[in-house]
Subunit: 314 residues, 2 copies
């Protein structure tokens, strides 16, 4: 069986750790909207979060970056007033960015670079950046600032209300042939419980992705990132509010929409805490069910992935 | 008084540590022929050797790089098969290269980048790359290989005989206005006891430098890098042999030549071990003298610099 997952960073990583436990060939189309140039290096937060998590080298205590990390280089750069003091890159993590940037400068596509970097470990899945083009998510705040998503998210901790999100450069961008093929050739497509706006939404905003999801014969099942009316992690509620969607599992499902109506979903999985909403989604044009969605370990994530598959194999 | 020094890396650093003890405004025109791109980062070995030494952060035991160095990033890069395993960059050193590359990518000239990096410490001298252009020294070996100088020097330890040295890109390059002005405006120009071929010789090979040295009103004094018929450090003898010059203090002086004959020198300082050669240089058109040239500490280097100045102030 071929499973293709659309995913953002940390939540996507936790979910994919489970999906790879299944007896399937797994491709993960990863959000690249958070990517940025920092002191001349190309940083891809979501690709790295997933790669590190699957490789077993991520810092599970801190929730991001590499385990056993040091920050000697960032301290040096700060002495020169370089870098962003609120976006400290660890030394091991910087090695990834140096390697990536070096290979990009040699002319490789981000897809090829990601394959090369991933080959170091037996990740068990294929990581596919959604696009090889530089499409960075910017946030226009209510008070008129234009910030890179990471600056808004990490430095201001989404304090300034976002008026809208902009995918800078999207008009010249394309989804990669590999990502489109992974969607076209899948037996099932899963939407990870990632941020519906700036992770999944950013992937969906890339030319080619929505029509690939419309055209694929694979059913598409989403897993809710909202549990009991609250985000599991991050500040997805601030993003949802910006696009006028409530922090509510059913509201996110309606935002994605049913495939038969030009939307995305053939199935939608919510947490037991939101089981009541399943009845309310009846007649929406997609199957819905409830199960425990707390991804406490890989086994639980695998159970959730199986429940998502069960929703469309009935 | 304004003193301008032409210098290579480690020997240059030791000499300049002494020159800055003098009551003078010191500019150092630094060899950039060893510079290289390594995993997408611009590495400038001579500029960094001098900067670290003057900043007091160099590894004096090992003789190169930063003190307290670690090599976590190089180990990571090696996992991906990147970098040169025989040219290991330390983490603190890599921070310099990241900072430099980032500023170069922003469009700053190497001269401006060097000023920005140097400003972190009170170096006490102005470091001036001889050129802002990328002119890398290559070695064509007797067996027909074409190697970057650092590869020949560090990896093969100059094992393969060099047939000739090539300054790649020199035909499109220029000495910087700052370096030329430092020579034109100097009260004295000193040639550090650096490699006469691939350090001083490389600076001299840049369009503009020789005529600036010919035209300046400042006397030019060289300090011999050869003591008692042997190189003080490095493998300068292999380089000298390539251009047909003996490993001999007087031979190097004749190679530089007297200014009155279209060469460089108004003065030449040799070690006491080579005092006999001073008489032999009489009538060569430049002043010559002998003193102890072992640069054991900054005070000794300062004494040597003073002896060089005395040679042309008589």
């Amino acid at each position: 069986m071929r499973i293709t997952v659309l995913a953002g960073g940390v939540g996507g990583a936790r979910f994919v750790r489970g999906v790879r436990e299944l007896d399937a060939e797994v491709s993960v189309v990863v959000n690249t909207g958070d990517d940025l140039w920092l002191t001349g290096l190309r940083v891809c937060p979501d690709l790295d979060s997933i790669m590190y998590a699957l490789a077993g080298v991520s810092d599970t205590e801190r929730g991001w970056g590499r385990a056993g990390e040091t920050e000697r280089i960032s301290a040096e750069l700060a002495e020169w007033g370089l870098g962003w003091p609120w976006f400290t890159l660890g030394d091991l993590d910087l090695a990834t960015h140096i390697a990536r940037t070096s290979l990009l400068r040699e002319g490789l596509r981000l897809t090829e670079v990601t394959e090369r970097l991933s080959a170091r470990w037996p990740l068990g899945v294929r990581l596919l950046p959604a696009t090889d083009d530089e499409v960075e998510t910017h946030v226009v705040t209510a008070d008129g600032q234009d910030l890179h998503f990471e600056e808004w998210w990490v430095r201001t901790r989404a304090a300034a209300a976002a008026r809208r999100f902009v995918q800078r450069g999207v008009e010249r961008a394309h989804a990669t042939p590999e990502a489109l093929a992974a969607i076209a050739d899948a037996d099932v497509v899963l939407l990870a419980p990632s941020n519906p706006v700036v992770s999944i939404g950013t992937i969906l905003g890339l030319p080619g992705i929505r029509s690939a999801l419309r055209d694929t014969e694979a059913p598409v099942v989403g897993v809710s990132p909202i549990i009991g009316g609250a985000v599991v992690r991050g500040m997805a509620d601030a993003c949802l509010a910006t696009i006028g969607v409530g922090t509510d599992a059913a509201a996110v499902a309606r935002h994605y929409g049913a495939r038969r109506d030009g939307g995305l979903l053939d199935g939608w999985l919510v947490d037991d805490a939101d089981a009541a909403s399943v009845a309310g989604l009846r007649g929406s044009g997609f199957a819905a069910d409830a199960t425990g969605l707390w991804m406490t370990d890989a086994a639980e994530s695998a159970r959730i992935a199986r429940a998502a598959l069960a929703l469309v194999s009935r």
